[in-house]
């Protein structure tokens, strides 16, 4: 009989077995997107690195990977910004305060916050892709002297799809910070920028040689952004991307998220562009 070695930690709640978390609040962000804040039933520590994700489980419906979108300085709760697209996400955003969901994780490698120390930080986000990057913004703002300028370029489909609108406005007013927002299509009531996210590069004051770029959004968007970054003089090793694939275990056992030699759940979801380039350029990204 072949025995598959399973690490002891796998049996502890929160790794392969979901741990019960209680819903503290649910905040509507847009028509189909909500931020869910949960705390451990046992009051346990919830430390994470921005860019990591959890597997969120709704009883009787299923389990899905969702990035942690909250403040890494908070250690007693976790926030997730969830776009309701199908059964599992719909069940999650249908929860009320006091109800329970199952949480496993946090899993994966987050954004390179230590590497970026002393450098400017450029965040390029599209749509729901801002969620895994919000923690980076909180972290940089909380540790302002450890970083240079913070530049956020955020693109969304339309004004009504913009996440964190109040925070975006507040970030844009901060010193040493540029927060530029654009939408693909606007109406008469929208006085902001219109155009795809790459149109924002022109208005960003960038110094590629001292900037770490963190990019998250649909893969096609990231392809256009990489082109723009490379044309603007960014080195491949200064570009970091967060990738998505279907996931099951979240922890490198099942092979569901395999991508070439990597498991996205364990080796990613954040990757340095130069390391994955052979695959990125060959495959669909």
């Amino acid at each position: 009989m072949v025995t598959i070695p399973v690490p002891e930690v796998a049996a502890t709640p929160g790794f392969l077995v979901p741990e019960p978390f209680v819903v503290r609040r649910l905040t509507r962000e847009t028509q189909d997107t909500f931020t869910l804040t949960v705390a451990s039933h046992g009051g346990g520590d919830t430390s994470f690195v921005p860019g990591q994700f959890s597997m969120l489980w709704s009883y009787g419906v299923g389990e899905v990977p969702i990035s942690i979108s909250g403040d890494p300085a908070e250690h007693d709760c976790l926030s997730y910004t969830i776009r309701s697209v199908g059964a599992a996400t719909q069940a999650l955003v249908g929860r009320r305060a006091g109800e329970t969901i199952g949480v496993r994780g946090p899993f994966g490698h987050g954004w390179p916050l230590a590497e970026a120390r002393g450098r400017d930080v450029l965040i390029v986000a599209g749509g729901i892709g801002l969620a895994p990057l919000r923690g980076v913004i909180y972290h940089v703002l909380r540790n302002r002297r450890d970083y240079g300028r913070l530049i956020l370029l955020y693109g969304s489909r339309s004004p009504k799809d913009l996440l964190y609108r109040k925070e975006l406005a507040a970030w844009a007013r901060l010193p040493d910070t540029q927060a530029l927002v654009t939408v693909d299509y606007g109406g008469l009531n929208w006085h902001g920028r219109v155009g795809v996210v790459t149109t924002l590069f022109k208005y960003a004051r960038l110094h590629p040689e001292r900037t770490t770029a963190m990019v998250c959004g649909p893969e096609i968007m990231m392809r256009f952004v990489i082109r723009e970054l490379r044309a603007g003089g960014f080195a491949r090793e200064d570009i970091h991307l967060s990738l998505e694939r279907n996931m099951r275990c979240g922890s490198g056992f099942c092979g569901h998220c395999q991508w070439g030699p990597w498991f996205i759940c364990k080796d990613g979801p954040v990757f340095r562009y130069d390391r994955i380039r052979p695959l990125v350029d060959r495959h669909e990204l």
């Binding site: 776009r83 697209v85 599209g126 749509g127 729901i128 693109g155 969304s156 489909r157 799809d161 654009t182 693909d184 299509y185 606007g186 109406g187 008469l188 929208w190 006085h191 902001g192 920028r193 219109v194 155009g195 795809v196 790459t198 149109t199 022109k202 208005y203 959004g217 649909p218 096609i220 968007m221 256009f224």
Partner: protein, 153 residues
């Protein structure tokens, strides 16, 4: 006139251009201001100008029957607006609505077309600069059409 030449030369569209062309271009340029809500041009109108935006914001809109217009791009400080003056039938395909107080240099396309016909070196220089802009806009328009933030069904 000398001041107009100096200011025009500072616009990013003309960055690095041979100074001899600045004088020629300035002869076709006018300084203009627009207030929010006004239209710089409307779809279907004759396109005899293009604009070097000095400051402000203009929404490039597509008019929709029985619907509010849809903004497909915004044009800001340092941008160039319009290339319909370059090619027949010299007609605007979109409309330009001013969103914030805006200052532009309006360049007379008819006057420029004549100068370009008479001086192909100038024409080639301008075309190269416009091609670069058109290439970027085409790329951006393709990206926009992909509607990447929609849920895959």
């Amino acid at each position: 006139m000398e001041t107009l030449e100096r200011i025009i030369a500072e616009h990013p569209y003309l960055s690095g251009i041979d100074p001899q062309w600045i004088e020629l271009l300035s002869g076709c340029a006018a300084n203009r201001k627009y207030e929010p809500g006004s239209y710089i041009f409307r779809e279907g109108q004759e396109a005899n100008e293009f604009f070097l935006v000095r400051s402000g914001r203009i929404a490039v809109e597509m008019a929709m029957p029985n619907h509010d217009p849809i903004t497909v791009a915004t044009v800001l400080d340092g941008d160039v607006l319009g290339w319909s003056w370059l090619l027949p039938p010299y007609q605007w395909k979109f409309q330009g609505r001013v969103v914030e107080p805006t200052r532009v240099f309006a360049l007379d396309g008819k006057c420029l077309r004549q100068k370009c016909e008479a001086n192909h070196d100038l024409g080639y220089e301008l075309l190269k600069r416009f091609c670069k802009i058109i290439d970027r806009r085409l790329d951006q328009a393709r990206f926009q059409l992909l509607d990447v933030y929609a849920v895959a069904r």
